[in-house]
Amino acid sequence: DQQVKQNSPSLSVQEGRISILNCDYTNSMFDYFLWYKKYPAEGPTFLISISSIKDKNEDGRFTVFLNKSAKHLSLHIVPSQPGDSAVYFCAARPFSGNTGKLIFGQGTTLQVKP
């Protein structure tokens, strides 16, 4: 069963507008959440993270929101830029001791149109 789900395979927005990428999870034992961005032919790069004890974390144009009661995570990009066009993966870390293992969603392809 997919413990971390990104139900929208793709999203298209206009440059300058807000992009909202969503992620749902099923395991209440996740204690840390991350977003990664991936360009073609490259590895994923870390974007932003949030601990389960917080509900918001902001870094420049990127903000991650965590709603624990709904088991929902979202990434807001404001304003969106054409260079943001990429595949975005959310990931969650189970509270499992000393492994650092991550469980990833399927990814959402974001296209930002000029």
Binding site: A41, G100, I103, G107
Partner: protein, 112 residues
């Protein structure tokens, strides 16, 4: 960029042959991970290592083995490759379980 090198970057091989992928890091990080990326599945953990000679299985470990004899190298072996193992393989590293993982640029493996 984190010092992670994956080799080879591309490989085409035949069913039944053994294949070894290498991940080399220059960061002296303790944790190393192997993932595969497939359409509709995102990234799935194959095996990981939490120190030299300390490894454990991930969620899709069947058909794969790993070895870590030095801090800097983590090898992924397909003992007898099958077409279902055609995928893009990523290595990742982190300094601790609390730090984000950083990824290499991947190996595209095709098994005919």
């Amino acid at each position: 960029d984190a010092g992670i090198t994956q080799s080879p970057r591309h490989k085409v091989t035949e069913t039944g042959t053994p294949v070894t992928l290498r991940c080399h890091q220059t960061e002296n990080h303790r944790y190393m991970y192997w993932y595969r990326q497939d359409p509709g599945h995102g990234l799935r953990l194959i095996h990981y290592s939490y120190g030299v000679k300390d490894t454990d299985k991930g969620e899709v470990s069947d058909g794969y083995s790993v070895s870590r004899s030095k801090t800097e190298d983590f090898l992924l072996t397909l003992e007898s490759a099958t077409s279902s193992q055609t995928s893009v393989y990523f290595c990742a590293i982190s300094g601790s379980e609390g730090q984000p993982q950083h990824f290499g640029d991947g190996t595209r493996l095709s098994i005919l």
